[in-house]
Amino acid sequence: MRLRWGGERLLSVLSPVLLLALWELAARTNAIDTRFFPAPSDIFAAAVTLIRTGELWDNLSITLVRLAVGFLLGAVPGIVVGLAMGLFSPVRAILQPLVDGTFPIPKIAILPLFILIFGLGEESKYAIIAVAVVYLVLINTQAGVRNIDRIYLDVGKNYHATRWMMFTDVALPGAAPLILAGLRLGMGVALLVIVAAEFVGARSGVGYQIWTSWQVFQVDRMFVYLLVTAVIGFGTAVVMTFLERVLLPWKQH
Protein backbone atom coordinates (compact mmCIF):
# COMPACT_ATOMS: atom_id res chain seq x y z
CA MET A 1 0.00 0.00 0.00
CA ARG A 2 2.67 2.45 1.14
CA LEU A 3 4.90 1.49 -1.73
CA ARG A 4 2.17 2.10 -4.24
CA TRP A 5 1.43 5.50 -2.71
CA GLY A 6 5.08 6.49 -3.00
CA GLY A 7 5.14 5.24 -6.57
CA GLU A 8 2.02 7.15 -7.51
CA ARG A 9 3.37 10.35 -6.02
CA LEU A 10 6.55 9.94 -8.00
CA LEU A 11 4.52 9.50 -11.19
CA SER A 12 2.49 12.61 -10.38
CA VAL A 13 5.66 14.68 -10.03
CA LEU A 14 7.30 13.09 -13.01
CA SER A 15 4.53 13.63 -15.55
CA PRO A 16 4.63 17.48 -15.61
CA VAL A 17 8.42 17.48 -15.54
CA LEU A 18 8.45 15.12 -18.47
CA LEU A 19 5.95 17.24 -20.35
CA LEU A 20 8.07 20.37 -19.81
CA ALA A 21 11.18 18.55 -20.99
CA LEU A 22 9.40 17.35 -24.11
CA TRP A 23 8.10 20.86 -24.72
CA GLU A 24 11.58 22.35 -24.34
CA LEU A 25 13.01 19.77 -26.69
CA ALA A 26 10.29 20.28 -29.28
CA ALA A 27 10.75 24.06 -29.17
CA ARG A 28 14.55 23.79 -29.49
CA THR A 29 14.30 21.48 -32.48
CA ASN A 30 11.55 23.64 -33.98
CA ALA A 31 9.20 20.69 -33.96
CA ILE A 32 6.56 23.12 -32.68
CA ASP A 33 6.04 26.70 -33.73
CA THR A 34 7.82 28.82 -31.09
CA ARG A 35 5.77 31.85 -32.09
CA PHE A 36 2.83 30.10 -30.39
CA PHE A 37 4.65 27.90 -27.94
CA PRO A 38 7.88 29.52 -26.79
CA ALA A 39 10.32 27.22 -24.99
CA PRO A 40 9.75 26.89 -21.23
CA SER A 41 13.22 28.36 -20.66
CA ASP A 42 12.25 31.49 -22.63
CA ILE A 43 9.02 31.81 -20.63
CA PHE A 44 11.06 31.49 -17.46
CA ALA A 45 13.45 34.20 -18.63
CA ALA A 46 10.50 36.48 -19.41
CA ALA A 47 9.11 35.81 -15.94
CA VAL A 48 12.42 36.77 -14.33
CA THR A 49 12.44 40.04 -16.21
CA LEU A 50 8.85 40.82 -15.29
CA ILE A 51 9.58 40.12 -11.64
CA ARG A 52 12.79 42.23 -11.74
CA THR A 53 11.01 45.28 -13.14
CA GLY A 54 8.21 44.88 -10.61
CA GLU A 55 5.64 44.81 -13.39
CA LEU A 56 4.42 41.33 -12.49
CA TRP A 57 3.85 42.15 -8.86
CA ASP A 58 2.09 45.44 -9.73
CA ASN A 59 -0.40 43.67 -11.95
CA LEU A 60 -0.82 40.71 -9.63
CA SER A 61 -1.53 42.91 -6.62
CA ILE A 62 -4.04 44.99 -8.56
CA THR A 63 -5.92 41.85 -9.60
CA LEU A 64 -5.76 40.36 -6.10
CA VAL A 65 -7.20 43.51 -4.53
CA ARG A 66 -10.02 43.53 -7.07
CA LEU A 67 -10.70 39.87 -6.36
CA ALA A 68 -10.68 40.32 -2.59
CA VAL A 69 -12.86 43.44 -2.49
CA GLY A 70 -15.33 42.15 -5.07
CA PHE A 71 -15.48 38.74 -3.42
CA LEU A 72 -16.24 40.18 0.01
CA LEU A 73 -18.84 42.55 -1.45
CA GLY A 74 -20.58 39.52 -2.91
CA ALA A 75 -20.00 36.88 -0.25
CA VAL A 76 -21.14 38.78 2.85
CA PRO A 77 -24.55 39.84 1.50
CA GLY A 78 -24.87 36.42 -0.09
CA ILE A 79 -24.52 34.68 3.27
CA VAL A 80 -26.80 37.10 5.14
CA VAL A 81 -29.57 37.11 2.55
CA GLY A 82 -29.22 33.38 1.96
CA LEU A 83 -29.64 32.67 5.69
CA ALA A 84 -32.66 34.95 5.84
CA MET A 85 -34.21 33.30 2.78
CA GLY A 86 -33.58 29.86 4.21
CA LEU A 87 -35.04 30.66 7.63
CA PHE A 88 -37.96 32.98 6.89
CA SER A 89 -40.51 32.08 4.27
CA PRO A 90 -41.76 35.67 3.70
CA VAL A 91 -38.23 36.75 2.78
CA ARG A 92 -38.05 33.75 0.47
CA ALA A 93 -41.40 34.62 -1.11
CA ILE A 94 -40.22 38.15 -1.89
CA LEU A 95 -36.71 37.40 -3.16
CA GLN A 96 -36.93 33.97 -4.78
CA PRO A 97 -38.50 35.15 -8.07
CA LEU A 98 -35.90 37.93 -8.35
CA VAL A 99 -33.05 35.49 -7.80
CA ASP A 100 -34.46 32.87 -10.15
CA GLY A 101 -35.17 35.49 -12.81
CA THR A 102 -31.74 37.11 -12.86
CA PHE A 103 -29.48 34.19 -12.04
CA PRO A 104 -29.41 32.74 -15.57
CA ILE A 105 -27.88 35.94 -17.02
CA PRO A 106 -24.20 35.27 -17.75
CA LYS A 107 -22.66 37.76 -15.34
CA ILE A 108 -19.98 38.97 -17.73
CA ALA A 109 -22.76 40.21 -20.01
CA ILE A 110 -23.52 42.94 -17.47
CA LEU A 111 -19.98 44.35 -17.65
CA PRO A 112 -20.77 47.03 -20.26
CA LEU A 113 -23.66 48.20 -18.10
CA PHE A 114 -21.43 48.40 -15.04
CA ILE A 115 -18.76 50.29 -16.98
CA LEU A 116 -21.49 52.68 -18.03
CA ILE A 117 -22.62 53.12 -14.44
CA PHE A 118 -19.30 53.03 -12.59
CA GLY A 119 -16.86 54.05 -15.31
CA LEU A 120 -13.59 52.32 -16.13
CA GLY A 121 -12.31 52.62 -12.55
CA GLU A 122 -12.08 49.98 -9.89
CA GLU A 123 -15.78 50.15 -8.93
CA SER A 124 -16.95 48.43 -12.08
CA LYS A 125 -14.57 45.54 -11.39
CA TYR A 126 -15.71 45.20 -7.78
CA ALA A 127 -19.31 45.28 -8.93
CA ILE A 128 -19.01 42.61 -11.60
CA ILE A 129 -17.18 40.22 -9.25
CA ALA A 130 -19.63 40.88 -6.43
CA VAL A 131 -22.57 40.11 -8.70
CA ALA A 132 -20.97 36.90 -9.94
CA VAL A 133 -20.19 35.77 -6.38
CA VAL A 134 -23.39 36.78 -4.63
CA TYR A 135 -25.66 34.36 -6.51
CA LEU A 136 -23.58 31.27 -5.89
CA VAL A 137 -23.09 32.05 -2.22
CA LEU A 138 -26.73 33.00 -1.71
CA ILE A 139 -28.12 29.91 -3.41
CA ASN A 140 -25.76 27.59 -1.56
CA THR A 141 -26.39 29.24 1.81
CA GLN A 142 -30.12 28.95 1.35
CA ALA A 143 -29.82 25.31 0.37
CA GLY A 144 -27.57 24.78 3.39
CA VAL A 145 -30.20 26.14 5.77
CA ARG A 146 -32.99 24.19 4.18
CA ASN A 147 -30.98 20.99 4.30
CA ILE A 148 -30.30 21.21 8.02
CA ASP A 149 -31.66 18.07 9.60
CA ARG A 150 -35.10 18.87 11.07
CA ILE A 151 -34.09 17.22 14.31
CA TYR A 152 -31.71 20.10 15.12
CA LEU A 153 -34.48 22.64 14.66
CA ASP A 154 -36.70 20.48 16.91
CA VAL A 155 -34.01 20.42 19.58
CA GLY A 156 -33.73 24.20 19.37
CA LYS A 157 -37.48 24.54 19.74
CA ASN A 158 -37.78 22.02 22.57
CA TYR A 159 -35.07 23.87 24.49
CA HIS A 160 -36.72 27.22 23.76
CA ALA A 161 -33.74 28.64 21.92
CA THR A 162 -34.21 32.31 21.10
CA ARG A 163 -34.45 33.39 17.50
CA TRP A 164 -30.92 34.74 17.67
CA MET A 165 -29.58 31.45 19.04
CA MET A 166 -31.38 29.52 16.31
CA PHE A 167 -29.48 31.76 13.89
CA THR A 168 -26.02 31.63 15.45
CA ASP A 169 -25.96 28.18 17.07
CA VAL A 170 -28.09 26.11 14.71
CA ALA A 171 -28.68 27.65 11.26
CA LEU A 172 -25.25 29.16 10.64
CA PRO A 173 -23.10 26.19 11.72
CA GLY A 174 -25.59 23.73 10.23
CA ALA A 175 -25.44 25.48 6.87
CA ALA A 176 -21.69 26.12 7.06
CA PRO A 177 -20.58 23.18 4.89
CA LEU A 178 -22.73 24.33 1.98
CA ILE A 179 -21.89 27.99 2.60
CA LEU A 180 -18.21 27.15 2.23
CA ALA A 181 -18.93 25.12 -0.89
CA GLY A 182 -20.69 28.23 -2.24
CA LEU A 183 -17.70 30.39 -1.39
CA ARG A 184 -15.43 27.97 -3.20
CA LEU A 185 -17.60 28.05 -6.32
CA GLY A 186 -17.88 31.82 -6.02
CA MET A 187 -14.10 32.17 -5.88
CA GLY A 188 -13.72 30.13 -9.06
CA VAL A 189 -16.25 32.25 -10.91
CA ALA A 190 -14.72 35.46 -9.52
CA LEU A 191 -11.39 34.56 -11.05
CA LEU A 192 -13.03 33.84 -14.40
CA VAL A 193 -14.94 37.11 -14.34
CA ILE A 194 -12.06 39.33 -13.27
CA VAL A 195 -9.78 38.04 -16.01
CA ALA A 196 -12.50 38.54 -18.61
CA ALA A 197 -13.32 42.00 -17.25
CA GLU A 198 -9.68 43.01 -17.37
CA PHE A 199 -9.41 41.89 -21.00
CA VAL A 200 -11.69 44.65 -22.16
CA GLY A 201 -12.46 46.97 -19.29
CA ALA A 202 -9.15 47.74 -17.61
CA ARG A 203 -5.73 49.32 -18.06
CA SER A 204 -3.98 47.04 -15.58
CA GLY A 205 -4.17 43.64 -13.97
CA VAL A 206 -3.31 40.12 -14.98
CA GLY A 207 -6.16 39.82 -17.50
CA TYR A 208 -5.21 43.11 -19.14
CA GLN A 209 -1.60 41.90 -19.50
CA ILE A 210 -2.69 38.64 -21.11
CA TRP A 211 -4.83 40.55 -23.59
CA THR A 212 -2.19 43.16 -24.53
CA SER A 213 0.55 40.50 -24.78
CA TRP A 214 -1.56 38.88 -27.42
CA GLN A 215 -2.19 42.16 -29.21
CA VAL A 216 1.52 42.99 -29.39
CA PHE A 217 2.42 39.36 -29.96
CA GLN A 218 4.56 38.93 -26.88
CA VAL A 219 3.61 35.32 -26.42
CA ASP A 220 6.21 34.48 -23.74
CA ARG A 221 4.78 37.30 -21.60
CA MET A 222 1.32 35.95 -22.16
CA PHE A 223 2.42 32.55 -20.90
CA VAL A 224 3.90 34.14 -17.79
CA TYR A 225 0.62 35.82 -16.94
CA LEU A 226 -1.32 32.66 -17.74
CA LEU A 227 0.89 30.96 -15.20
CA VAL A 228 0.07 33.74 -12.75
CA THR A 229 -3.68 33.08 -13.13
CA ALA A 230 -3.04 29.42 -12.44
CA VAL A 231 -1.13 30.34 -9.30
CA ILE A 232 -3.98 32.60 -8.17
CA GLY A 233 -6.47 29.80 -8.76
CA PHE A 234 -4.33 27.35 -6.87
CA GLY A 235 -3.74 29.82 -4.03
CA THR A 236 -7.42 30.57 -3.54
CA ALA A 237 -8.18 26.84 -3.48
CA VAL A 238 -5.57 26.38 -0.76
CA VAL A 239 -7.09 29.24 1.23
CA MET A 240 -10.56 27.70 0.92
CA THR A 241 -9.31 24.32 2.08
CA PHE A 242 -7.64 25.99 5.03
CA LEU A 243 -10.89 27.83 5.88
CA GLU A 244 -12.81 24.56 5.75
CA ARG A 245 -10.34 22.91 8.06
CA VAL A 246 -10.55 25.74 10.59
CA LEU A 247 -14.30 26.39 10.40
CA LEU A 248 -15.57 22.82 10.01
CA PRO A 249 -13.49 20.69 12.36
CA TRP A 250 -16.59 18.52 12.87
CA LYS A 251 -16.65 17.64 9.17
CA GLN A 252 -13.21 16.01 9.23
CA HIS A 253 -13.19 12.28 9.59
Binding site: I151, Y152, D154, V155, G156, N158, Y159, P173, A176, L248
Partner: protein, 273 residues
Amino acid sequence: MTSTAPVKVRIRGLRKRFSVKGRPIEALDGIDVDVEAGAFLCIVGPSGCGKTTLLRILAGLEEKTAGTIEVARDAAGKDARERPVNAMVFQEQSIFPWMTVRDNVAFGLKARGFSGRDRYAIVEPFIRRANLGGFEDALPHQLSGGMKQRVSITRAFANDPEMLLMDEPFAALDEQTKLILQAELLRIWEESRKTVLYVTHSIDEAIVLADRILVMTARPGRVKDVVDVASVFGRPRRVEAVKESAQYGELFGRVWGALREEVMGAQAAEAVS
Protein backbone atom coordinates in the same frame (compact mmCIF):
# COMPACT_ATOMS: atom_id res chain seq x y z
CA MET B 1 -44.55 5.12 43.42
CA THR B 2 -47.85 4.82 45.18
CA SER B 3 -51.01 6.38 43.87
CA THR B 4 -50.85 8.97 46.67
CA ALA B 5 -48.35 11.08 44.72
CA PRO B 6 -49.89 14.14 43.04
CA VAL B 7 -50.57 13.91 39.33
CA LYS B 8 -47.94 15.62 37.20
CA VAL B 9 -49.49 15.16 33.77
CA ARG B 10 -53.15 14.47 33.11
CA ILE B 11 -53.93 13.49 29.52
CA ARG B 12 -57.55 13.14 28.45
CA GLY B 13 -58.97 12.15 25.07
CA LEU B 14 -55.75 13.04 23.26
CA ARG B 15 -56.09 12.64 19.51
CA LYS B 16 -53.73 13.33 16.67
CA ARG B 17 -54.59 13.19 13.01
CA PHE B 18 -51.89 13.68 10.38
CA SER B 19 -52.73 14.44 6.82
CA VAL B 20 -50.55 12.74 4.25
CA LYS B 21 -51.24 13.90 0.69
CA GLY B 22 -54.75 14.89 1.69
CA ARG B 23 -55.46 11.52 3.31
CA PRO B 24 -56.01 11.61 7.04
CA ILE B 25 -53.90 9.32 9.19
CA GLU B 26 -55.07 8.72 12.74
CA ALA B 27 -51.97 8.47 14.88
CA LEU B 28 -53.52 8.78 18.35
CA ASP B 29 -57.13 7.89 18.99
CA GLY B 30 -58.06 9.07 22.45
CA ILE B 31 -55.28 8.61 24.99
CA ASP B 32 -56.23 8.84 28.67
CA VAL B 33 -53.48 8.61 31.22
CA ASP B 34 -52.32 10.15 34.48
CA VAL B 35 -48.64 10.29 35.31
CA GLU B 36 -47.78 10.87 38.97
CA ALA B 37 -45.10 13.35 39.91
CA GLY B 38 -41.74 11.64 40.14
CA ALA B 39 -42.96 8.48 38.41
CA PHE B 40 -41.12 6.61 35.70
CA LEU B 41 -43.67 5.65 33.05
CA CYS B 42 -42.59 3.41 30.22
CA ILE B 43 -44.58 3.34 27.01
CA VAL B 44 -44.49 0.29 24.77
CA GLY B 45 -46.46 -0.43 21.62
CA PRO B 46 -46.14 -1.69 18.07
CA SER B 47 -44.05 0.33 15.63
CA GLY B 48 -45.99 3.27 14.22
CA CYS B 49 -48.61 3.30 16.98
CA GLY B 50 -47.92 6.92 17.86
CA LYS B 51 -45.44 6.76 20.74
CA THR B 52 -43.12 9.37 19.26
CA THR B 53 -46.13 11.48 18.32
CA LEU B 54 -47.35 11.42 21.93
CA LEU B 55 -43.99 12.63 23.23
CA ARG B 56 -43.67 15.26 20.51
CA ILE B 57 -47.05 16.70 21.43
CA LEU B 58 -46.00 16.85 25.09
CA ALA B 59 -42.71 18.46 24.02
CA GLY B 60 -44.56 21.18 22.11
CA LEU B 61 -43.19 20.05 18.76
CA GLU B 62 -46.52 18.91 17.36
CA GLU B 63 -50.06 20.29 17.64
CA LYS B 64 -52.70 18.00 19.07
CA THR B 65 -55.92 17.50 17.12
CA ALA B 66 -58.17 17.10 20.17
CA GLY B 67 -58.07 16.42 23.89
CA THR B 68 -56.49 18.05 26.91
CA ILE B 69 -53.09 17.93 28.53
CA GLU B 70 -52.74 19.38 32.00
CA VAL B 71 -49.29 19.71 33.48
CA ALA B 72 -48.98 20.64 37.15
CA ARG B 73 -46.11 23.11 37.25
CA ASP B 74 -43.73 23.01 40.19
CA ALA B 75 -43.37 26.74 40.11
CA ALA B 76 -44.79 29.02 37.49
CA GLY B 77 -43.16 32.37 37.02
CA LYS B 78 -42.17 34.53 34.11
CA ASP B 79 -38.45 34.22 34.57
CA ALA B 80 -36.90 32.65 31.48
CA ARG B 81 -34.27 31.10 33.71
CA GLU B 82 -36.75 29.02 35.70
CA ARG B 83 -36.80 25.25 35.29
CA PRO B 84 -38.31 24.24 31.97
CA VAL B 85 -41.37 22.01 31.93
CA ASN B 86 -39.79 19.29 29.82
CA ALA B 87 -36.77 18.23 27.86
CA MET B 88 -36.86 15.60 25.17
CA VAL B 89 -34.28 12.93 24.39
CA PHE B 90 -34.86 12.06 20.77
CA GLN B 91 -35.07 8.68 19.09
CA GLU B 92 -32.53 9.62 16.46
CA GLN B 93 -29.08 11.18 16.76
CA SER B 94 -29.81 14.72 17.93
CA ILE B 95 -26.70 16.24 19.47
CA PHE B 96 -25.25 19.07 17.42
CA PRO B 97 -22.25 17.76 15.45
CA TRP B 98 -20.66 21.24 15.39
CA MET B 99 -20.62 21.69 19.18
CA THR B 100 -18.30 20.21 21.75
CA VAL B 101 -19.73 17.85 24.37
CA ARG B 102 -19.70 20.72 26.85
CA ASP B 103 -21.59 23.11 24.58
CA ASN B 104 -24.09 20.42 23.64
CA VAL B 105 -24.84 19.67 27.27
CA ALA B 106 -25.07 23.38 28.09
CA PHE B 107 -27.35 24.20 25.16
CA GLY B 108 -30.56 24.44 27.19
CA LEU B 109 -28.88 26.60 29.83
CA LYS B 110 -27.57 28.95 27.16
CA ALA B 111 -31.09 29.28 25.76
CA ARG B 112 -32.24 30.18 29.27
CA GLY B 113 -29.72 33.00 29.40
CA PHE B 114 -27.00 31.62 31.68
CA SER B 115 -23.59 33.16 31.04
CA GLY B 116 -20.81 31.00 29.67
CA ARG B 117 -19.09 30.64 33.01
CA ASP B 118 -22.31 29.85 34.89
CA ARG B 119 -23.52 27.21 32.51
CA TYR B 120 -20.16 25.50 32.26
CA ALA B 121 -20.02 25.36 36.05
CA ILE B 122 -23.52 23.86 36.13
CA VAL B 123 -22.90 21.17 33.50
CA GLU B 124 -19.54 20.09 34.90
CA PRO B 125 -20.89 17.65 37.53
CA PHE B 126 -23.51 16.33 35.09
CA ILE B 127 -20.82 15.50 32.57
CA ARG B 128 -18.78 13.78 35.24
CA ARG B 129 -21.72 11.77 36.53
CA ALA B 130 -22.44 10.58 32.99
CA ASN B 131 -18.87 9.24 32.77
CA LEU B 132 -18.03 11.77 30.08
CA GLY B 133 -15.29 13.46 32.09
CA GLY B 134 -12.27 14.21 29.92
CA PHE B 135 -14.41 14.46 26.80
CA GLU B 136 -15.73 17.97 27.46
CA ASP B 137 -13.97 19.42 24.43
CA ALA B 138 -14.51 16.44 22.12
CA LEU B 139 -16.74 16.77 19.08
CA PRO B 140 -19.55 14.24 18.58
CA HIS B 141 -17.83 12.49 15.67
CA GLN B 142 -15.04 11.58 18.07
CA LEU B 143 -17.46 9.73 20.37
CA SER B 144 -18.92 6.23 20.27
CA GLY B 145 -22.64 5.72 19.75
CA GLY B 146 -23.15 5.04 23.45
CA MET B 147 -21.30 8.22 24.43
CA LYS B 148 -23.40 10.28 22.02
CA GLN B 149 -26.56 9.01 23.66
CA ARG B 150 -25.09 9.85 27.05
CA VAL B 151 -24.48 13.40 25.83
CA SER B 152 -28.06 13.60 24.62
CA ILE B 153 -29.42 12.40 27.96
CA THR B 154 -27.04 14.60 29.94
CA ARG B 155 -28.17 17.61 27.91
CA ALA B 156 -31.72 16.90 29.06
CA PHE B 157 -30.79 16.31 32.71
CA ALA B 158 -28.49 19.34 32.92
CA ASN B 159 -31.35 21.60 31.90
CA ASP B 160 -33.17 20.34 35.02
CA PRO B 161 -36.63 19.98 33.48
CA GLU B 162 -39.65 19.05 35.59
CA MET B 163 -40.34 16.22 33.20
CA LEU B 164 -38.16 14.10 30.91
CA LEU B 165 -39.46 12.79 27.61
CA MET B 166 -37.25 9.98 26.38
CA ASP B 167 -37.85 8.35 23.02
CA GLU B 168 -36.04 5.01 22.74
CA PRO B 169 -32.73 6.56 23.77
CA PHE B 170 -30.86 3.24 23.81
CA ALA B 171 -32.54 1.53 20.86
CA ALA B 172 -29.55 1.85 18.54
CA LEU B 173 -27.01 0.53 21.05
CA ASP B 174 -25.54 -2.90 21.59
CA GLU B 175 -26.73 -5.05 24.49
CA GLN B 176 -23.78 -4.51 26.83
CA THR B 177 -23.73 -0.74 26.39
CA LYS B 178 -27.48 -0.72 26.89
CA LEU B 179 -27.20 -2.58 30.20
CA ILE B 180 -24.59 -0.16 31.48
CA LEU B 181 -26.52 2.91 30.40
CA GLN B 182 -29.77 1.59 31.90
CA ALA B 183 -28.06 1.18 35.26
CA GLU B 184 -26.54 4.63 34.88
CA LEU B 185 -29.88 6.15 34.00
CA LEU B 186 -31.50 4.53 37.03
CA ARG B 187 -28.77 5.84 39.28
CA ILE B 188 -29.02 9.39 37.97
CA TRP B 189 -32.79 9.33 37.94
CA GLU B 190 -33.03 8.01 41.48
CA GLU B 191 -31.04 11.06 42.64
CA SER B 192 -33.37 13.53 40.98
CA ARG B 193 -36.72 11.70 40.84
CA LYS B 194 -38.00 13.57 37.87
CA THR B 195 -41.19 12.57 36.14
CA VAL B 196 -40.15 10.47 33.15
CA LEU B 197 -42.08 9.32 30.10
CA TYR B 198 -39.89 6.74 28.44
CA VAL B 199 -40.72 5.09 25.13
CA THR B 200 -39.12 1.75 24.38
CA HIS B 201 -39.55 -1.26 22.14
CA SER B 202 -38.00 -3.51 24.72
CA ILE B 203 -40.32 -5.12 27.29
CA ASP B 204 -37.22 -6.06 29.22
CA GLU B 205 -36.06 -2.46 29.40
CA ALA B 206 -39.53 -1.31 30.41
CA ILE B 207 -39.66 -3.73 33.36
CA VAL B 208 -36.18 -2.77 34.51
CA LEU B 209 -36.86 0.96 34.45
CA ALA B 210 -40.56 1.60 34.96
CA ASP B 211 -42.91 2.23 37.84
CA ARG B 212 -45.74 1.60 35.41
CA ILE B 213 -45.82 0.33 31.83
CA LEU B 214 -48.34 1.75 29.42
CA VAL B 215 -49.08 -0.68 26.59
CA MET B 216 -50.49 0.96 23.48
CA THR B 217 -52.60 -0.57 20.74
CA ALA B 218 -51.52 -0.67 17.11
CA ARG B 219 -52.22 2.53 15.15
CA PRO B 220 -54.38 4.43 15.82
CA GLY B 221 -52.83 4.40 19.27
CA ARG B 222 -54.99 3.90 22.35
CA VAL B 223 -54.20 2.67 25.84
CA LYS B 224 -54.39 -1.12 25.82
CA ASP B 225 -53.19 -1.89 29.33
CA VAL B 226 -51.31 -0.35 32.21
CA VAL B 227 -49.01 -2.71 34.10
CA ASP B 228 -47.86 -1.84 37.60
CA VAL B 229 -44.19 -2.60 38.18
CA ALA B 230 -43.54 -0.44 41.26
CA SER B 231 -45.54 -2.74 43.53
CA VAL B 232 -43.33 -5.66 42.46
CA PHE B 233 -39.91 -4.01 42.24
CA GLY B 234 -39.17 -1.16 44.63
CA ARG B 235 -36.47 1.49 44.59
CA PRO B 236 -33.57 1.75 44.45
CA ARG B 237 -33.52 -0.94 41.88
CA ARG B 238 -30.70 -3.07 40.59
CA VAL B 239 -30.93 -4.18 36.99
CA GLU B 240 -29.44 -7.62 37.68
CA ALA B 241 -31.68 -8.26 40.69
CA VAL B 242 -34.78 -7.49 38.65
CA LYS B 243 -33.80 -9.88 35.89
CA GLU B 244 -32.98 -12.70 38.27
CA SER B 245 -36.23 -12.55 40.21
CA ALA B 246 -39.15 -14.88 39.62
CA GLN B 247 -41.67 -12.04 39.18
CA TYR B 248 -39.75 -10.77 36.18
CA GLY B 249 -41.08 -13.60 34.02
CA GLU B 250 -44.60 -13.00 35.22
CA LEU B 251 -44.49 -9.30 34.35
CA PHE B 252 -42.87 -10.05 31.03
CA GLY B 253 -45.64 -12.48 30.21
CA ARG B 254 -48.33 -9.98 31.05
CA VAL B 255 -46.85 -7.15 28.96
CA TRP B 256 -46.03 -9.44 26.06
CA GLY B 257 -49.54 -10.91 26.21
CA ALA B 258 -51.07 -7.48 25.76
CA LEU B 259 -48.55 -6.46 23.14
CA ARG B 260 -48.60 -9.66 21.08
CA GLU B 261 -52.16 -9.24 19.84
CA GLU B 262 -51.37 -5.71 18.74
CA VAL B 263 -48.11 -6.53 17.02
CA MET B 264 -49.69 -9.47 15.20
CA GLY B 265 -52.68 -7.30 14.29
CA ALA B 266 -50.43 -4.55 12.99
CA GLN B 267 -48.46 -7.00 10.87
CA ALA B 268 -51.63 -8.54 9.46
CA ALA B 269 -52.95 -5.08 8.58
CA GLU B 270 -49.66 -4.22 6.92
CA ALA B 271 -49.76 -7.41 4.85
CA VAL B 272 -53.25 -6.52 3.62
CA SER B 273 -52.51 -2.90 2.66
